[in-house]
């Protein structure tokens, strides 16, 4: 009996130990980002980092303004969201309210394949297929541009929005639907005036998660958007995102401990802060504004 208790206790402690690895991971991420960034900010002032319009750590004339990388990130993310939100939401409403149940059960998993395809494959499409197509219609588009990367990224995150939104639309109680139809409303009116508002917290949470995902997306922008930090909102010229910059430095021969090496941690910290805030807004919206139906 006594050994049995000891055994149980040992098992519980061992399980706890593995759970603590997740805490260590978080602490590790924060420590790595902060310690290397701290060394970076000893050389570069925070003011320059936040206000200098140029980012050229790998040139002789060095500038360390994160703004142009942030701008590139916002640009590609914005285009992706412009593609993904309208189409994802339309698909969600259509599958939930208009299509047959059978069609939904087939189409939903098929669309989810879009999110399972590795992003390197999307990068290939953006560079080899979408960019030439864009150039055919608009000859002024350069070989690397934010537009094609953003469009392809938008396609990739469609299932995030369509599937998650369909789930929350589906969770709206049927009594609301029936009441709306009973008043003589069409499916369109029921969907957009009753169901979407009722499910809005879940839909908004899914959109924010998709934005966070787009900000952290790396390979598509590293392949198709270019490597030229550019403080512009012009989607047809080469730009560089935070993630693409980290890839660029990692591929090159930057000596460990140099200031250029430290820049990737300062860039990483910026990225981490952005996604951390967005993820937590998403949790918060979902929790705080969730409609409770009994």
């Amino acid at each position: 009996m006594f050994t049995r208790k000891i055994k149980e206790l040992i098992i519980e402690r061992a399980l706890l130990l593995s759970a603590l690895i997740t805490i260590l991971t978080t602490l590790g991420i924060i420590w790595v980002l902060l310690s290397e960034s701290f060394a970076f900010f000893k050389v570069v002032s925070l003011w320059d980092f936040l206000t200098d319009p140029e980012w050229t750590p790998l040139f002789t004339q060095k500038h360390y303004g994160i703004l142009s990388l942030v701008c590139g990130t916002i640009l590609t993310t914005g285009i992706a969201i412009l593609v993904a939100v309208p189409s994802g939401l339309t698909i969600a409403v259509y599958l939930n309210e208009y299509s047959t149940k059978r069609m939904r059960n087939i189409v939903k998993p098929l669309l989810e394949i879009l999110a399972a395809i590795p992003s390197i494959v999307y990068g290939f499409f953006a560079l080899i297929v979408i960019t030439p197509v864009l150039q055919y219609f608009f000859p002024s588009v350069s070989g690397f541009n934010a537009l094609s990367a953003g469009i392809v990224m938008g396609i990739m995150i469609i299932p995030f929005i369509s599937s998650l939104s369909e789930d929350v639309l589906n969770a709206v109680p049927n009594s609301l639907r029936e009441a709306s139809y009973g008043m003589g409303a069409t499916k369109f009116q029921t969907s957009f005036k009753v169901l979407v508002p009722a499910a809005s917290s879940g839909i908004i949470a899914s959109i924010i998660l998709a934005i966070s995902r787009a900000i952290g997306e790396t390979m598509i922008v590293a392949i198709a958007a270019g490597q030229q930090p550019n403080l512009t909102l012009n989607p047809t010229v080469p730009i560089e995102t935070i993630t693409a910059y980290i890839v660029q430095v990692s591929l090159g021969d930057v000596p460990q401990g140099s200031i250029a090496y430290k820049t990737i941690f300062a860039a990483g910290l910026t990225l981490f802060v952005f996604t951390f805030i967005l993820n937590n807004i998403s949790f918060w919206v979902n929790k705080k504004f969730k409609q409770q139906y009994v």
């Binding site: 049995r4 149980e8 098992i11 519980e12 399980l15 593995s18 759970a19 997740t22 805490i23 991971t25 978080t26 590790g28 991420i29 790595v32 189409s87 339309t90 698909i91 409403v93 259509y94 599958l95 208009y98 189409v107 998993p109 098929l110 669309l111 394949i113 879009l114 399972a116 395809i117 590795p118 390197i120 494959v121 990068g123 290939f124 499409f125 560079l127 080899i128 297929v129 396609i155 003589g184 069409t186 499916k187 369109f188 952290g216 790396t218 390979m219 392949i223 993630t243 980290i246 890839v247 990692s250 591929l251 460990q256 941690f265 990225l271 981490f272 996604t275 951390f276 967005l278 949790f283």
Partner: protein, 285 residues
Amino acid sequence: MFKSSRNRIIDKSFQVIGLATTIFGLLILATFIFYIFYVGATRIDWAFMTNLPSRFYAKAGILTAWTGTIWIFVLTAFSAIPIGISTGIYLEEYAKKTRLANILEINISNLAGVPSIIYGLLGLEIFGRFLGLGRSVLAGSFTLALLILPIIIVATKESLRAVPQSLKDAAYGLGATKWQTIWTQVLPVSFSGIMTGIVLALSRVVGETAPLIVIGALAYVPFVAKTPMDDFTVLPMQIFNWISRPQHGFIVNAAAAIIILLIIVIILNGFAVFIRNRASRKNNW
């Protein structure tokens, strides 16, 4: 009357738009896959699978890439699965409402949202520099293991939660300890749910590129990794390297390698769907 007929027109047109958007999404998927096969399928042959990388596209193969992918797949699975399942069990069965459990939960959902490239920075410093693993297979596997831990933990928790209390009560009634109940009753019935999560997580490992670039994995490795301490490359790294080259021959190579990568990913995802469907037919509580 006028207004209601207008409403009906809006309704009908949305039905058309909705259907068109859905079909468009599926069409894009089909076009992607068709185009890749169109460009790359004829390039795949025995030599392509067994050749080392080369600066001549006609001679280049993916031997180092796919063997590297297998190395990473296996070592990541071995490091992530035990920790992921244990954590899931701890959170669901042992620490349900404690403050520590609450902190762990919040922490895990935050980790799930951290971009993969940040895990690369973590791996570079902790595994690469601090533990001295450099850019070895082991450093890559540990990095990706941390990346997929949240997926495995959440899948484990959800499948454990679906196990009915009556099953546990029956085991306790026979005098089983908590762990005996978990080990002999709860885990076997939640096995398929946990497996589904693990397979989906591993399918992500196969396609992951960014964190491996950051820890310093090379695109050009002229030999097959023999020990976990060797340098390595993986399929997505090889594809990335080929995409960035100007000659069309390398683009064809990239498409061919993408086909291999997609086949692996689709098999893994299909396997996950298969396990899930079989389980949902079997357990009806």
